[in-house]
């Protein structure tokens, strides 16, 4: 069952937090890329008109 030992628990939490942080930072970078692609597509479709 879930028992958080006094000292050990925070290390476990830290490790999983690092894992989560890496994923989320990656998602953020991908999101920025996506936003830029959308912006460029917008410019392009405006020029074409």
């Amino acid at each position: 069952m879930l028992v958080l030992a006094a000292s050990g628990g925070k290390y476990v939490a830290a490790a999983y937090a690092v894992f989560l942080a890496l994923i989320l930072v990656y998602v953020a970078i991908m999101a920025t890329k996506l936003a830029r692609i959308e912006r460029e597509l917008d410019d392009l479709s405006r020029e074409d008109r």
């Binding site: 069952m1 879930l2 030992a5 050990g8 290390y11 476990v12 490790a15 890496l22 692609i37 020029e47």
Partner: protein, 245 residues
């Protein structure tokens, strides 16, 4: 083209990873010696394994690039290596946290996995500087592929060397449980975590490739549009766009 199947893949990743997290904290038994600290094992080792496989995969994809000369393989190889580097950093950090929690030091030389990773990490840090310091795109792809192949072959050999050199290895994690029973639950939890992290890698790989591919196609489209504008009859005569797609 890369986006196909991406939704199914990401859903699968989310399900498996969440399942793994639940299993780690509610299903897998506590380990006798290390207690809760051992739980870090479920995130550290899969990260390490997937990163290693990613580096080797990057090498294999690079072989395809050299064989066929098609840019798509280079892109796939680049993203695989780039992602593996991120996962390797994760493995190093979580490994360090585990070392601190278990043995009181932020770094231990007795852990062959951790040490191998440090060396591999140092090597692959050179990948991007090397790549981007070569201007010609075709040359860049070729040289990057050679690097990826050499480095991919290096990873297992390095692991072997460090393993052979390590005097005594700290007791590994699949030992006993609090009540002395066989750690089958641990094994299952570990495999599920491994699957989750592998799926995560695959999803992020696809995501990044989709973004890169879209970006590239956009650039090509823009160039085509600009060329079409220059070829409009109103302006002075302009040269034919070379190699119009």
């Amino acid at each position: 083209m890369y986006g196909r199947g991406l939704r199914a893949l990401s859903i699968a990743t989310a399900v498996v990873l969440t399942g793994a997290a639940v299993m780690v904290f509610f299903y897998a038994p506590k380990e006798a010696d290390q207690g809760i600290i051992q739980k870090i094992f479920y995130v550290h080792v899969p990260l390490a394994i997937v990163a290693l496989c990613g580096f080797v995969a990057g090498g294999l994809l690079a072989i395809k690039q050299l064989r066929t000369g098609e840019t798509k393989w280079d892109m796939r190889s680049y993203v695989a290596i780039h992602l593996s580097l991120v996962f390797a950093v994760g493995a190093l950090i979580t490994g360090s946290i585990w070392a601190k929690a278990s043995w009181g030091h932020w770094w231990v030389w007795d852990e062959p996995v951790l040490v191998s990773f440090l060396i591999v990490f140092l090597l692959y840090c050179c990948y991007q500087p090397l790549r981007f310091s070569i201007e010609d795109p075709e040359k860049q792809a070729r040289y990057a592929s050679v690097f990826a192949i050499a480095a991919g072959a290096f990873v297992p050999i390095n692991f072997m060397a460090v393993r052979l050199a390590t005097a005594h290895i700290h007791p590994r994690v699949l030992s006993k449980t609090t009540d002395g029973s066989l750690p089958t639950e641990m094994l299952i939890t570990f495999l599920v975590s491994l699957l989750g992290v592998a799926l995560l890698f695959a999803t992020l790989w696809k995501v990044e490739l989709t973004a890169k591919n879209a970006s590239m196609k956009l650039k090509r489209l823009r160039r085509r549009l600009e060329a079409a504008e220059h070829a409009a009859p109103s302006g002075p005569p302009s040269p034919e766009p070379v190699g119009a797609p």
